[in-house]
């Protein structure tokens, strides 16, 4: 009996910018059906990693396999099966929410009637139905994030790559998004997300990795990472070194 390959398998991944490594020998395996948190301080290499996983930027060296397919060889086949919520806006501001979702659906080869039907259902689900005729330029940041997530769902992907999906979303919107993601995992999808909100990762994810200066410094199932009585925040601060000497700035006292 053949075993399905992992959702994400990365080996010795490197990205060098002008002689400096943004990602430095990263190896990672994310099993299918897991909710994986990818954490790290600002500039640690999280977004660069996600961009390499989606094929947006080429890796300097190393290999990437998503759902058993290799990047960049199987580029189009992989894109058909992943859902992406990037950190930079992927929304066309001069389309309405409904038009954008229909457009994205058609980019994933859905027939137009089906794309329209799913777009309407997603707008309802993400509580954007009343804004369907509004231009995306008029959406708030939270609404834009919800729309981006709706767009990532329209073709029912097997793997989600999300960069700070809850950033700028209010509590109600974030709760809705989390519930949808948990439901997706329950139905067999894999989620790989980055977030600065450690409580969210701690509550949602079953596994996580912490990246610092382009290298994985801690990885494992959530309970393994936390060890005994530590919270994820304690682990994070301990591994990436978060102590700050405020006393030096006397004028701030």
């Amino acid at each position: 009996m053949s075993v399905a390959p992992p959702a994400i398998q990365v080996r010795d991944l490197r990205k060098i910018y002008e002689g400096k490594a943004a990602v430095d020998g990263l190896s990672l395996t994310v099993p299918r059906g897991s909710f994986f948190g990818f954490l790290g301080p600002n500039g640690a290499g999280k977004s660069t990693t996600i961009r390499m996983l989606t094929g947006l930027i080429p890796a300097t060296s190393g290999s990437i396999e998503l759902l058993g397919l290799r990047i960049p060889e199987d580029d189009l086949a992989i894109k058909q099966r992943i859902g992406l919520v990037p950190d930079e806006s992927l929304l066309f501001d001069r389309l309405t929410g409904a038009e954008f979702l229909e457009f994205v659906g058609r980019m994933y080869a859905l027939p137009r009637p089906l794309a329209i039907q799913r777009a309407n259902e997603l707008l309802e689900l993400f509580e954007l139905a009343n804004e369907r005729r509004k231009l995306i330029a008029e959406y708030s940041k939270g609404m834009r994030k919800r729309l981006a997530m709706a767009a990532s769902l329209i073709h029912k992907p097997e793997l989600f790559l999300m960069d700070e999906p809850f950033e700028g979303v209010d509590a109600v919107g974030a709760r809705l998004m989390k519930d949808i993601l948990v439901d997706q995992v329950r139905h067999g999808a894999t989620i790989f997300l980055t977030s600065h909100v450690l409580e969210v990762v701690e509550r949602l994810c079953d596994s996580a990795a912490i990246i610092n200066k382009g290298r994985i410094v801690a990885e494992g199932r959530m309970e393994e990472l936390r060890g005994g009585s530590e919270t994820l925040e304690d682990v994070f601060v301990r591994t990436v070194g978060g102590a700050r000497d405020y006393d030096k700035l006397e004028w701030l006292g």
């Binding site: 947006l56 080429p58 894109k79 806006s89 992927l90 066309f92 501001d93 001069r94 457009f103």
Partner: protein
Amino acid sequence: MRLAGRAGPLFSIVTGTLYYGFWGVVAFAAAAFFSGPNNQPYFLPVLSSGLLFVMLYWQLAPVISAGFGAALDMRKLLAYPIPHRKLFAVELMLRTTSSGEMLLLLAGATIGLLRNPLFGWKFGALTIFGAAAFAITNILLSAGIRTVVESLFRRTRLKEAVMLLVALLGLLPQLLIFLKVRRSTLLRFAPSGIAWPWAAAARLMIGTEVAWAATASLLYLAASYWFGRRQFERSLVVDGAVTREQKQDTRPDPFSERLFRFPSRVLRDPLGALIEKELRTLARIPRFRMVYLMSCVFGIVIYLPALRNSDRHSFAMQAALPIMGLYGLLMLGPISYWNAFGFDRSAVQGYFSWPIPFRDALIGKNISVALLLLPQIVLVILVGTSVRVPVSPAKCVETLAVILIASLYWFSVGNIVSVRMPRAMDPEKMNQAANRLQALSIFSAPVLLLPIVLAYWARAVFESGIVFAGILVIAAIVGMIFYKVGLDSAVAASAFRRESMLMHLSKADGPVSVG
């Protein structure tokens, strides 16, 4: 890779050299003219007319080309404790970027006068004062005009029509010629009367009627300061968030909806969807709508006066329809095919994230622009029939063919430039300089249009429609090959320049957006 990295600066150097080189030559000619003692009798009329041109160009060229140079974004600066007068001073310095070529021209005339032995250095102070007062008046005026134009941009489509009228002022000379306005009537408003700002400045620069000229110049300076400052202060109290995001009516009206959906009926996805998206998006971008309107009208208004004395069988008459249409294509370039992803900004990553070939994204953008050319061509033909330009079914086919063939060549180069030198464009603002891309369009035209020019030349020499059609067919075939090579090159470049494209197109404007 190294070559690719150098392409951007190299492109800037080439277009900058061509553009400013041209104005440098004009400035040098002005310096040579005004330094000659024998030309003295012509100084007042020539300088007055020259300064009138400078003022018209300075104030209207940015409106027409939809590029106001660098600009301050007040929304990003108001949070800081900076006095308004200092912000205004920075804004004025930035205004000089919108028409640096006119400063060059003015400097040429000033240097010429200073070198003229008839005037010499004894008039130097007056010459410099006159030129400086005129330049500052223009800077202040253009600061006010920019604010007015941008506030018009944020409003309804009716205001765009008003904007178009303002832009058409720049074409006044052509209109006057076309309307056959009598010379005596024109002379009554001759540009050398001392009451005009340019004429007062000219008198000051050559040292005649100094007292009156100085008074008029100072009055104009004060008035333009009042106007510029007042508009600046008004722009500070405008709530950017409200004006910027004024709701656009997106209710589907059956006619435009049918138009937007049309490509999807003819072409399969993803191409159909890409074109549909492109047409919807462009139709909702104020800056694009404005330039599109201009591109429909300007070719006609500029070219028609040239036909006034032309014989019906002359080349000017016979090629009138394609020439007017080509002007529209040329004008659309800087905000469409020369920078195809400019309005997409960071959303450009979609073309790399969705399971579609990047090639389709480029083809979709090109077809969208080609579709937008069709109404232009229809308008040109309609106007042609109403003025005595030869119009026949064959002429209509010829016009369409010539414009589509020219598009192949321009789109081909445009696709490469769009991938190698992308630049984010703000759909609301007009502060990104389009001048250099416009210059590239103009300077590349003689090369890219060569096959078409050759066809017309052959028709004139051999007096044969068959030869003409034959060469056009060859031009079309070569154009298709040229287009394919350009497309392949752009697609190949997109693979390794993806990161740089994303970086450039995701750039958010800082407090000072570069022109």
